[in-house]
């Protein structure tokens, strides 16, 4: 199977029915994508496929054939949202953070607080109560932050 992973062409040998999550973590060695539940409820394994945020634990590898996949590693470590998640304490334990950031990337240019809540509704965080995550995301988009 072939797909584009973080901008580079990639061929993988995993079983076509292997979970994309496992292909990314084990065959491709990209452990930034996390597993929290394995059933598409927690969103910790969120990646972008052709620009859309999806749970990689629910995607068979064969379904990713020919697509463009972006994982947290694809942001390179200099994305402003990454720094904001740390500075605004949108990340506490950090295990939901990569998935949360990937899901937030699918937001429109000028999101309202409700847009943010809806975009992140499939991503569970047990540490923050989400408020600090809203602050990080809204600041990234230059939107007013409720205090």
């Amino acid at each position: 199977m072939q797909f584009t992973l973080n901008g580079e062409a990639r061929e993988v040998a995993s079983h076509p029915m292997a979970r994309l999550l496992d292909v990314l973590r084990e065959e491709c060695g990209l452990t930034g994508t996390k597993e929290g539940c394995g059933e598409g409820e927690c969103g910790a394994c969120t990646v972008l496929i052709d620009g859309e945020a999806v749970c990689s634990c629910l995607i068979p590898a064969s379904q990713a054939e020919g697509t463009e996949i972006v994982t947290i590693e694809g942001l390179g470590g200099k994305h402003p949202l990454q720094e904001l998640f740390m500075n605004e304490v949108g990340a506490q334990c950090g295990i939901c953070t990569p998935g949360m950031i990937m899901a937030a990337l699918s937001l429109p240019e000028k999101p309202t607080l409700d847009d943010v809540k809806t975009a992140l509704a499939g991503n569970l965080c047990r540490c923050t109560g989400y408020s600090a995550i809203y602050r990080a995301v809204l600041k990234w988009r230059g939107m007013p932050v409720p205090e």
């Binding site: 996390k34 059933e39 947290i72 740390m86 990340a91 295990i95 509704a121 047990r126 600090a132």
Partner: protein
């Protein structure tokens, strides 16, 4: 500019946001095997036979006969085995361990276990096996409750299990090394694991160390349980001679690991007609599950907080925690206090209702003040802030006005006043003898403690404390990854003690180091004189007196104080409850790092709201029937209302820079505040979680 009191850059670095931070499942070792736990499927009985219905070639198989020394998880009691020998006491009890290098092959292996089942016990009220009972007495309760000139209000309140749902399930890797073994794992208390492994392995395996990997949440769920999973991984690693990784999936984590203790609390209270508390008689029952784990101390904290933040001359609190044939319950943020403070706060609103008094006024009349004496006989000091947080919460939310205007509408408002003792109970901190160490490096200093960063900000706030106490730049302070062979045993990362207690030892270490450095910077001193290490032990304030036999004395060195106000809307057809806003006014000395502290309050409040409204563990034949995130629901973005956090200050002189403990306090308030709002709406609810089904069948007021 001082570091303490400002939201400086966190010591975590950027790794959590880039995916570079390594959690247990992100780490692999050459020749590593994967481990799997075969568990009981019955709640009570004996094992008749075990058969391996697969080709066992290339498998490592461990049962109780492979235990090197003692088959007991060494915590408070030695009753819980690492692996069942004959008798099964709960569903999901570990019996056999398997390891194989291929996860797929491992998951297919079929172990057939035959049992001789016996009648299980699920109702704690019917249990005769009492793990711990407590009786606390202040004054004379019986004669006052018998008086004709008092009003007596009685009630029973119930809370259910709660699952931690840290997003990273439990997981460890055991790695054989240099005649010993290392554990890399998701743990809150590395030295608890060491204690358990020493007991399991005995003197034949003295070289054991535990290295905490980045930990994806704990909340108490990784306080004692990692001892169990680490023991399993170590046995497989020793038998195979290879590294063994065990990572639970979500379902296994939910079915097999600890939860918050369910409780039944009964109150019988005598008051004057004006509403002054004169006697409180309280009975606390907690379901421990099949083994002792930490239940005695959970019961202890629960009982001590059971009378709430109120002044009453006559108080009797009787508590017991008992065995049932369910998976053992254990530590969970709040540690018994959320259960008993739920009961007392709902009870206080019922009292106010029966006496025709405003819920704020009855608290004004009875809330503890400095100089008042608690149920254990502790005279409160100046850092008691019940009235301050109450008045601020009432003012800020316009409580009285909403209370009047919303009556009879879909909207409702309720509040809860609460407190939480910081640090270990009673003589606990003295007995712990926690140590902290500061080491000079060529460029600054290194903090070397076993306290773990699990998201709450340990690394950062410890570094802030050392920065200011030593008078050096924040950037010159580094924090060692907890590795039990390299750091001081600063005690467990629990009980809201990491800032207040361990932070205090570090502050004293820094002062001692400053005296040794003289006018030199750490780097200058190091260049001139080489290495320098300062290690100190915690000394609790000398005025703390505690008698464990009578439960009398200074239960905690200090308390955090909070008042939560819940505003919500109830759908009259579906009984769905939509929280609109939660105001959390909390006093915890002073915040070391305001943004992290705010995160503790927001996150704890969210867990409290889940506890109040959403999180129901369904037990069927002694096993969690809804062990999936699909049907055990924690708050999502769409469930969370606005949280208005107010951090008030009232410094505790014995804490670093006046700080008290904070982590658990926010967990105590949301549930009673929500249920008191439901009472304002006209629903007589005395139980959580307050699911729509429960509300639909609740009596109207």
């Amino acid at each position: 500019m001082p570091a303490v009191g400002t939201s400086v850059a966190r010591k975590d670095g950027i790794g959590k946001a880039t995916g570079a931070a390594l959690y247990a499942d992100d780490i692999s070792f050459p020749r590593m095997l994967h481990g799997r736990t075969i568990r009981s499927t019955i709640p009570c009985g004996r094992i008749k036979s075990i058969a391996y219905d697969f080709d066992t070639t290339d498998f490592t198989i461990v049962d109780y006969r492979d235990v090197p020394a003692k088959n007991a998880v060494d915590l408070m009691s030695l009753d819980q085995p690492f692996l069942v020998e004959h008798e099964v006491r709960h569903v999901a009890e570990p019996i056999v361990l398997l390891a194989h290098e291929d996860k797929e092959v491992l998951s297919q292996a079929n172990v057939i276990i035959e049992y001789e089942e016996t009648e299980p016990l699920f109702d704690p009220a019917k249990s005769s096996e009492i793990f711990k009972s407590i009786e606390m007495l202040k004054g004379d309760v019986d004669s006052i409750l018998g008086n004709d000139d008092v009003v007596v209000v009685e009630g029973t309140y119930r809370t259910g299990h709660q699952e931690h749902v840290y997003i990273e399930p439990n997981g460890v890797i055991a790695v054989p090394e240099d005649g010993g073994v290392a554990i890399y794992g998701s743990v809150q208390c590395p030295f608890y694991v060491i204690k358990a492994l020493r007991c399991l392995l005995g003197s034949a395996h003295p070289n054991v160390r535990v290295i905490q990997t980045e930990t994806g949440g704990g909340f108490g769920g990784k306080e004692e349980y990692p001892s169990m999973i680490s023991g399993h991984a170590v046995m497989l690693a020793l038998k195979s001679g290879r590294p063994v990784k065990i990572i639970y999936d979500r379902e296994e984590d939910m079915v097999a690991t600890t939860k918050r203790h369910p409780s039944v609390v009964h109150h019988r209270t005598a008051l004057t007609r004006e509403g002054k508390l004169v006697a409180m008689d309280i009975d606390v029952l907690m379901d421990a599950g099949a083994y002792v784990t930490l239940s005695p101390t959970v019961l202890s904290r629960g009982c001590i907080h059971a009378a709430g933040p109120y002044n009453c001359d006559n108080v009797r609190i009787r508590g017991r925690t008992v065995m049932t044939n369910t998976p053992p319950n254990g530590a969970f943020r709040g540690f018994g206090a959320p259960q008993t403070e739920f009961a007392v706060e709902v009870h206080i609103d019922r009292i106010a209702e029966q006496l025709g008094i405003d819920p704020v006024d009855i608290r004004r009349m009875n809330a503890l003040r400095p100089g008042d004496v608690t149920a254990t006989g502790q005279t409160l000091r100046e850092d008691a802030s019940a009235h301050m947080v109450l008045e601020e919460a009432v003012r800020r939310t316009d409580f009285d006005k909403k209370r009047k205007e919303w009556k009879g509408t879909r909207k409702a408002i309720g509040l809860a006043l609460f407190y939480h003792g910081a640090g270990f109970t009673g003589a606990g901190e003295k007995n712990l003898k926690s140590r902290a160490r500061l080491e000079l490096t060529p460029t600054g200093v290194r903090i070397a403690v076993g306290s773990t960063e699990i998201g709450q900000g340990t690394r950062t706030m410890h570094a802030q404390i050392v920065t200011d106490a030593l008078g050096i730049p924040y950037e010159d302070v580094e924090v060692a990854q907890p590795d039990t062979s390299r750091v001081a045993d600063s005690g467990p990362t629990v009980a809201s003690r990491t800032c207040m207690v361990v932070g205090k030892i570090l502050e004293e270490c820094a002062h001692e180091m400053r005296a040794k450095l003289g006018d030199l910077s750490p780097a200058e001193y190091y260049a001139k004189n080489g290495e320098l290490t300062v290690e100190r032990m915690y000394e609790p304030p000398d005025w703390i007196k505690w008698d464990d036999a009578t439960y009398r004395g200074d239960a905690y060195a200090t308390y955090g104080w909070g008042c939560d106000v819940a505003e919500l809307e109830v759908d009259p057809d579906t009984y769905e409850v939509r929280p609109i806003k939660l105001t959390a006014v909390q006093e915890f000395g002073r915040p070391i790092h305001p943004a992290l502290a705010r995160g503790q309050i927001e996150g704890g409040t969210a867990q409290g709201l889940g506890y109040a409204l959403l999180e129901k563990v369904v037990m069927r034949n002694g096993s969690m029937a809804n062990a999936q995130l699909t049907n055990y629901v924690i708050p999502t973005t769409l469930d969370m209302p606005e949280i208005d956090v107010v951090m008030m200050e009232n410094p505790y002189p014995g804490g670093p820079f006046g700080a008290k403990g904070l982590g658990e306090l926010p967990m105590d308030g949301p549930a009673p505040a929500v249920v008191n709002a439901l009472r304002h709406h006209g629903l007589d609810v005395r139980e959580i979680p307050a699911m729509p089904e429960l509300l639909a069948s609740s009596p109207l007021i």
